[in-house]
């Protein structure tokens, strides 16, 4: 941190969220990150991956990496948030039961919360005066078919305007055979339509939602389109003299 100008964001922190770090935060360096874990390996990008593919993308082998759980100190304001949350959840025991793991990656804090404790944690994050994450910008769903027991994730992004634009991400997992997560509409009412969208696209049922119906697809649509096992659904395109199949079913071109 060579520049003394407090108003300019240093170049190496340019990608971080939450506004420019203060002097105190700049000295609060995080612990070294652990080794990322390999969740699955992606072979090829699209189309056929057998030989004859001249694009080069068919031979790609890319590991899907998840960042390792972070060790204290987390850095920036994350330690403060974790300490206040621990106090609000009645001690280290409550914190350890509710929060499965904490991830600090690329300047962003992610709390993995057990779905049974989601309402307590969300209420604490919203109401505690030192936390005050008043704004929830919605729920997103993610589907990891290889992570048995934790296939579906619901991701909540919280923003604290009172404390100068602090952000935290809360992530809740649920298995594919028991797709229930408590609804936080009672705590953040704006999540109504976002939870409907996550139900529509992924099939995660939010218990306690006032009216969990489809919002993007027609009301009688079968299936949940954004899951990884849902097909793209394109139709073959007719040209004069040839029919081109949809992009996910095309062969490699020699």
């Amino acid at each position: 941190m060579s520049d003394n100008d407090n108003t300019k964001v240093p170049a190496d922190k340019a990608q971080e969220t939450g506004g420019a770090p203060t002097e105190a935060e700049r000295d609060n360096l995080p612990a070294a990150p652990g080794t990322p874990e390999v969740v699955s390996v992606r072979h090829g990008m699209f189309g056929a991956s057998d030989s004859g593919d001249t694009s080069g993308y068919g031979g790609l082998v890319a590991p899907v990496l998840f960042p390792a759980p972070a060790q204290r100190p987390y850095g920036r304001y994350f330690d403060e948030v974790a300490d206040h949350l621990e106090r609000a959840l009645e001690g280290a025991e409550g914190f350890g039961r509710a929060i499965e793991k904490v991830i600090v990656d690329r300047g962003e804090l992610t709390l993995f919360v057990r779905r049974e404790d989601l309402l307590t944690v969300a209420r604490a994050l919203r109401d505690d005066p030192a936390l005050r994450f008043e704004m929830c910008t919605g729920v997103s769903g993610v589907h990891y078919p290889h992570e048995t027991g934790r296939e579906l994730h619901a991701v909540y992004h919280l923003l604290s305007i009172t404390h100068g634009g602090r952000r935290v991400r809360v992530e809740v997992t649920c298995p594919d055979d028991d797709r229930h997560i408590p609804s936080i509409v009672g705590i953040y009412p704006a999540n109504d339509w976002h939870e409907r969208e996550t139900w529509d696209m992924f099939g995660i049922e939010f218990d306690g939602h006032p009216a969990l119906t489809r919002i993007l697809m027609p009301d009688d649509w079968p299936g949940h389109p954004q899951r990884k096992d849902y097909p793209l659904g394109g139709i073959p395109v007719e040209y004069k003299g040839a029919t081109i199949p949809p992009p996910d079913q095309r062969r490699s071109y020699n």
Binding site: L216, M217, L232, G233, G234, V237, K240, G241, P247
Partner: protein
């Protein structure tokens, strides 16, 4: 419909056809059916720069009951499809449809589960206009093509004959995938 249906084919019927066609094409009122990005180009056609008012079409009617032309401007999702059909059904005859842009004509770049692959799955289309989005001049070209179609619409016995001829031609035509094009 009226007296023109009962006229025998001949000079009188053709004169009435031309007159009725001229009257109908001079005052086509489009329905406001901008769905997505193509709606912006449709709005641009209403501006003085491209000026749809010179055709008497500046009065876009929000109610389909008073509209003649439905310009389907934009992609039609699966959820919107019954609404498109209902608006089309609420328009009184004579009515025409222009599918503006590639998404309305064929699904466009969205070849997936959520978008209807061409609005001709839902309503009969008179003029297909490609483009993403088509320039306002292209939309005006499509409208002028439609005007020519309207001007030359046969009525009465001529219409029945023309419909039979069109059906014959369609049944005997080669399907698109059997045609010889550049890919064959």
């Amino acid at each position: 419909m009226g007296i023109e249906e009962k006229l025998p084919a001949g000079f009188l019927l053709t004169t009435v056809e031309q007159l009725a066609g001229y009257m109908r094409k001079s005052s086509v009122w489009p329905a406001t059916f901008g769905l997505a990005c193509c709606a912006i180009e449709m709005m641009a056609v209403g501006t003085p720069d491209y000026d749809i008012a010179r055709f008497g079409m500046e009065r876009f009617s929000a109610t389909p009951r008073q509209a003649d032309l439905m310009i389907v401007a934009g992609r039609v999702s699966q959820k919107m499809a019954p609404v498109v059909r209902q608006v089309y059904d609420q328009m009184p005859e004579p009515k025409w449809v222009i599918s503006m842009g590639v998404c309305a004509s064929s699904g466009g770049m969205f070849n997936n589960y959520a978008i209807v692959q061409g609005v001709d799955h839902i309503v009969p289309v008179d003029v297909y206009l490609p483009g993403c989005p088509p320039r306002p001049e292209m939309l005006l070209n499509a409208i002028i093509t439609l005007h020519e179609q309207i001007q030359n619409t046969p009525l009465g016995v001529n219409r029945v004959k023309a419909a039979r001829a069109a059906e014959e031609a369609a049944l005997n035509a080669t399907p698109t995938h059997a045609m010889k094009g550049l890919l064959a």
